[in-house]
Assembly symmetry: none
Homo-oligomer: 196 residues x 4
Amino acid sequence: MPKVGMPEIRKPQLVEATMAAIDEVGLAGASVALISRKAGVSPGIINHYFGGKHGLLEETMRSVLRQLSHTVIEHLASVDKNDVPGRIKAIVAGNFDSYQVDNKVVKTWLSFWAQAMHDPQLHRLQRVNEKRLLSHLRHELKQVLPTDKAQFVAQGTAALIDGIWLRGALTPGGISPTQAQSIITDYLEKQLAPYL
Amino acid sequence: MPKVGMPEIRKPQLVEATMAAIDEVGLAGASVALISRKAGVSPGIINHYFGGKHGLLEETMRSVLRQLSHTVIEHLASVDKNDVPGRIKAIVAGNFDSYQVDNKVVKTWLSFWAQAMHDPQLHRLQRVNEKRLLSHLRHELKQVLPTDKAQFVAQGTAALIDGIWLRGALTPGGISPTQAQSIITDYLEKQLAPYL
Amino acid sequence: MPKVGMPEIRKPQLVEATMAAIDEVGLAGASVALISRKAGVSPGIINHYFGGKHGLLEETMRSVLRQLSHTVIEHLASVDKNDVPGRIKAIVAGNFDSYQVDNKVVKTWLSFWAQAMHDPQLHRLQRVNEKRLLSHLRHELKQVLPTDKAQFVAQGTAALIDGIWLRGALTPGGISPTQAQSIITDYLEKQLAPYL
Amino acid sequence: MPKVGMPEIRKPQLVEATMAAIDEVGLAGASVALISRKAGVSPGIINHYFGGKHGLLEETMRSVLRQLSHTVIEHLASVDKNDVPGRIKAIVAGNFDSYQVDNKVVKTWLSFWAQAMHDPQLHRLQRVNEKRLLSHLRHELKQVLPTDKAQFVAQGTAALIDGIWLRGALTPGGISPTQAQSIITDYLEKQLAPYL
DNA sequence: GATGAATGAGCCTTCATTCAT
DNA sequence: AATGAATGAAGGCTCATTCAT
């Protein structure tokens, strides 16, 4: 009688170990041996569950993106549908939520971002995510701005989010969510002022 | 007497080949064998000139940063010292100059940025560069803004530059310098308007 | 469950292959590739079991020293505790036992001896062994000689053992245990005669 | 007009550098690059003068052996032809002369000894040297001992010389010529006593 | 005579993956 | 389901040697 439900236990355990390994030694140093050691399992099991190292990396990236998506949706849920500035701030806040600015997650994310340039599957995931952020922002902005302007401000906001996040990735103290939000809020206020 | 002046020929040749390799297969795939093949030399020469692969990578990053620095300084040279908006636009333009948005350079840069998280030497280079951009921007902004505000706007501008650049790295068409500059110019105008 | 008990099979197998390789092409020529080929395993396994080539070499030296120690102890076991000349001859005989004068072992030993001059770990092993021989001899000699004299004769005997063994390493026919023992026995008789 | 006499200057310079390199990093670590650096010349010159690294090593060994031979002959020159114990002591003294017990020379010698097991040319040199020592000793001993006995004592003496020398190679303080001579002198006295 | 740039084979090691148990 | 022994290709690096200058 095989143990049941093992995949559901093992998979998150290995994804977590992958991020811990990337945090510690970088994507290049995150060998199957190291990850499995961190997870307390044997190296062979990674092929068993993920069909190879690549499958594990892809699942790890998916997991990070899923988390972000959930966090943003959660933040949005508590804001009135018509409070546009509030909803955009919620999206921004979701992107700088404590989980997202956790050093382990930031390092994993940037590692994957760089890797995605040469890996079609990761590239696709990354593009979907990028577009989702833009689409969320545009959707809200369209309620108060003309389409062109909404697209323009959405791109500016997305760039600010990613830029602050990128610069924070190499800063010893990590990302400061407060500062991030103050810069972006200021940007939005100046963009929306004429229309509100 | 041996061939002279070879270092001056070989070093840029190898740096160029390194960027070409990273462009093609990513930093992880850029092996000494591939790089040397692209440069049309033997693998051993990399040790001869750079003391190892790491030395070559470091020099490649330095080369990219040097280029950026030169480009920005050049752009600044043609703008009047007191034309603050013009000078900041020059800094921005320097960051989106054709060489800097060349796909090969963008990929190299992002690869190194990710790598820098786990490599003290690259980290140092990256930090110096980050701080230089901020310092350039702050220096100009201080001429028209109070110190606090100058620091604030400098961070916003730097974030926009890096964010647009980062998002462009994964966009099939690459970075659009025109769009980049229009977003950033708009940001600056709104920030400076009250003070001019 | 993986194959069990493999380390106990693989380790001696690889140590044996190391000595065979040294016998054939010398320590300098004994590459990991050659050793693993001789053992009929893949090169990677040496790291698996010994953490690297150096670990294998160290274990090989330990194995040779262990063998010597066992052989000497065995030879001593069959001689009466009070028969000093007999016990010393047993020590000598142990050092010229068939295993010890096997060409493969002699070459391995001399190779390590030379290597030990520049390798702290091998040096330590070699020193321990040297001192053990001296200490064994001195211990027996003290039963019939004054301390000073015992130390003196022990050094002479040890030098004879190593000298004959060293000279034999380069002699086409190898070491002649019979001749070795006759030279050393003669030395001992002359040294002990006045005291017996 | 070419520089004349260069070979006579360069060759000893390189031989000396070879011994210094072996002393410092062992035979295995003594690369052409290191040796040439120590000699203050370019790596290419070793091929020029010695036809390759092997030629340099062979010449280095020859140089050591030549030195020994000269030293022994010098020591012998000052002893009366008929003073057999004196002449043998002179041979022993020659073998423990200050140059011969210099750490650099001892290490070089032992390194070559080990190497000689797998290098026909070095082997030949080593054998010639071994036999010369034996032949010198036997020649003197025959004046006072029957042929058989002379051969026997010669072998014992040679073994003592090499054994003390070998054991001293790994002793931190190096070889003690005084102690060496006292052990060997004692041996000889006991062997010759009945015949004098 | 002398240099040192350049080569390329060979070294040790790492690593994702496979597979007998 | 899970292990970890074993593989073998690929990696970076060292090094004796060659050769244009």
